[in-house]
């Protein structure tokens, strides 16, 4: 099936050549003829990685990158299933899974000395050296443009929203954000403290049931239904699934209530004992280089995890960037280790509320 990856993308490929940092060809001769498998996400991010970043990298290093589009949790599953004999070298996963991968010995520490691009990485996106963020989305409400969204999450519990909300299913990571919101409303505490009190907030969760039309697991599809007017508001979803629609003119956009919003961190990790680690590290470094980061962020409407990237004002409307802006908007990243330890029990409780 060489058709699929060795295709030429016309002007896209030309654009990619422009992206490539000016590297001396012979310097990369060590990589010639090597091949690695990487697991990336689907969506517009995956499309960009496949069509623009990889072809340029393959050209610069005379190597071959086979990219498979999947999603975080399946990617973790694939790493686990192939642990004794790794098939993949680099995996793109969300920050939620990094502690699990680390504890199960699925990933290796990044070799800092071989990755110069790490120098510009904001420390909070470094995960103690066990991976790096690639893109930051913001999670909040998405709503039909004809609906005025509330400025506080609390309003969504009101009777006027009966049957008009779409709630993210416990299968998806943003479901944890919803639990934190419920706990914050119940306790009146900020997210950072409320996340440790989710266990006591399930009566609050149950109270919203009458307003929920369905639990969705396909973000783009839910956004599409909200655009059609089948429901008023969806909670909560990452901006990367909604803004591409907004930009195309669909009547759906996002809003961020005063309690704050959440950071969805898309990351990359190095698979422990994966084939051709040197090439894998070079690729991960490429992902963080400024030229790649700028184009990547503009394409998928996500914020870069590295400092010093300039964006137009039009683009900045969609991004929480730079890091000061993230703080200003109260962008919250949960304590994933704590969340992961409790997620199974919480999911069981969610099932008990919505599924019987």
């Amino acid at each position: 099936m060489t058709v699929m990856t060795r295709r030429t993308f016309g002007k896209l490929t030309l654009g990619a050549a422009g992206l490539a940092a000016p590297l001396v060809y012979s310097r990369n001769s060590w990589a010639a003829g090597k091949q690695i498998q990487i697991g990336i996400w689907g969506g517009s991010q995956g499309e960009f990685v496949k069509k623009r970043i990889i072809p340029a990298f393959e050209k610069d290093f005379d190597c071959r990158i086979v990219a498979e589009e999947g999603f975080t949790l399946a990617n973790v599953g694939k790493m686990r299933a192939t642990k004794d004999n790794p098939k993949f070298s680099v995996m793109f996963i969300d920050d939620v899974a990094i502690p699990i991968c680390k504890q199960e010995g699925l990933i290796a520490e990044l070799p800092k000395s071989d990755m110069p691009a790490l120098a510009n990485l904001y420390p909070r996106f470094g995960f103690d050296g066990w991976g790096s963020a690639l893109a930051i989305s913001v999670a909040g409400l998405f709503h039909n443009t004809e609906v005025t969204p509330p400025d506080s999450y609390a309003a969504l519990w009101g009777p006027e929203y009966a049957g008009k909300l779409k709630l993210v299913s416990p299968k998806n990571t943003p479901s944890v954000f919803f639990l934190i919101v419920a706990a914050a409303l119940k306790t009146g505490k900020p997210f950072a403290e409320a996340q440790y009190q989710i266990d006591g907030a399930f009566d609050k969760v149950a109270e919203i049931k009458a307003n929920v039309q369905n639990l969705f697991d396909n973000g783009p599809q839910a956004a599409n239904e909200v655009a059609q007017g089948q429901a008023d508001i969806g909670l909560l979803e990452l901006s990367k699934y909604v803004y591409p629609y907004t930009a195309k003119g669909a009547p759906v956009t996002m809003s961020f209530p005063k309690e704050g919003s959440f950071a969805g961190n898309n990351c990359q990790v190095l698979v422990k004992n994966g084939p051709n680690q040197d090439l894998a590290v070079a690729f991960m470094n490429r992902m963080l280089e400024p030229a790649v980061q700028k184009a990547f962020s503009e394409y998928a409407f996500t914020a870069p995890p590295v400092s010093g990237i300039e964006f137009s004002n039009e683009t900045l409307k969609y991004l929480a960037y730079p890091v000061e802006e993230m703080d200003k908007r109260g962008l919250f990243t949960p304590d994933w280790e704590f969340i992961n330890a409790n997620r199974s029990a919480w999911t069981e409780k969610m099932n008990g509320i919505f599924a019987v």
Partner: protein
């Protein structure tokens, strides 16, 4: 019977050669031939199915998930949790309910279609067959989207019901009904095809004779077609029951995640919670339920069929 005509030249060629009869009996009589025919498939499935799946299922006894991380060591905890939590029992019951209803409703819809294929002439057979197979070729997400558009509050069904005078038509989307409708829809061909093939094998002259003797169409169906099509029905029901019991995408999309089945929970455990041992435990429960139902059902049908077939001939 086209088969008889096909063999005619051979029949007339050597009418008194009993050697061939003995050879044929030797080939088809011995168990060895039987085992040889079955062996490749059994070996294939033993290596590429039984081995991996059993090792996955044993995970439910040899490891558990502690704080989201898999820890090895013999344990019964997964099963204790499974059987002591009310939620899982309720979902097991729902799974059985949906699978039984899908099979029953499917059979109800399948008989007219199967009779049309078997008895209705080439054009009709072709149209019916292609139409019922078509849903299988449309990806489940897109198919579900079609149903959503029909079943939602402003959808085609609501419109239809309103126009015939139902003041406030029920919204079926995001209920168990939607899951049931979609399951019947997509698994219908698995019921129709074996039924049609069984009905097609029934000698039409038997029905004709019954009709000539004054039997009504209904009693003709009940006393000849229904009993003689039982092997086909058995195949259809066991397929549809098994497939709908393991469904997991439809309950998510059309049931709005309000009516998950065991399959949905398994997917949740494996993909979202990374808890393979508990997912394996739920799988074991599902497998045991479907296997037992199928074996019991096939035993009953086979016995009945033997009796009915004896009576009808």
């Amino acid at each position: 019977m086209p088969g008889l005509e096909a063999v005619n030249p051979a029949l007339t060629a050597a009418p008194d050669d009993t050697g061939m009869a003995r050879l044929w009996a030797a080939i088809t009589g011995g168990r060895l031939t039987g085992y040889l025919l079955v062996a490749p498939t059994v070996l294939f499935l033993a290596v590429w199915f039984l081995w991996p799946v059993l090792s996955m299922v044993t995970l439910s006894l040899t490891s558990r998930s502690v704080d989201g991380v898999m820890v090895e060591g013999f344990t019964l905890e997964n099963y204790v949790r499974l059987f002591s939590t009310d939620l899982y029992f309720r979902i097991l019951i729902r799974t059985i309910r949906i699978a039984v209803l899908t099979s029953l409703i499917g059979a109800l819809f399948a008989y007219p279609l199967a009779i049309a294929i078997a008895r209705g002439g080439p054009t009709m057979a072709r149209v019916v067959t292609i139409t019922i197979i078509a849903p299988l070729l449309v990806n489940v997400v897109v198919r579900s989207y079609g149903w959503q558009t029909i079943l939602n509050k402003t959808g085609a069904l609501a419109y239809l019901l309103k126009s015939v005078g139902v003041a406030s038509p029920p919204v079926l989307l995001y209920t168990e009904w939607a899951v049931l409708i979609a399951c019947v829809h997509v698994y219908l061909p698995f019921m129709v095809m074996p039924l049609a093939s069984a009905i097609g094998r029934i000698d039409g002259s038997v029905e004709e004779a019954a009709r000539v003797a004054g039997a009504s169409r209904l009693s003709c169906f009940l006393r000849i077609v229904l009993p003689l099509s039982l092997p086909g029905l058995a195949v259809g029901v066991s397929l549809v029951f098994s497939l709908s019991a393991a469904a997991y995408v439809t309950p998510q999309i059309l049931g709005g995640n309000f009516s998950p089945l065991l399959g949905t929970l398994i997917e949740q455990q494996i993909l979202t919670l990374n808890d393979w041992p508990f997912g394996a435990a739920i799988s074991t429960l599902l497998i045991a339920m479907v296997l037992i139902t199928n074996l019991v059902f096939l035993k009953i049908v086979n016995r009945r069929f033997a009796r009915w077939a004896g009576g009808a001939r």
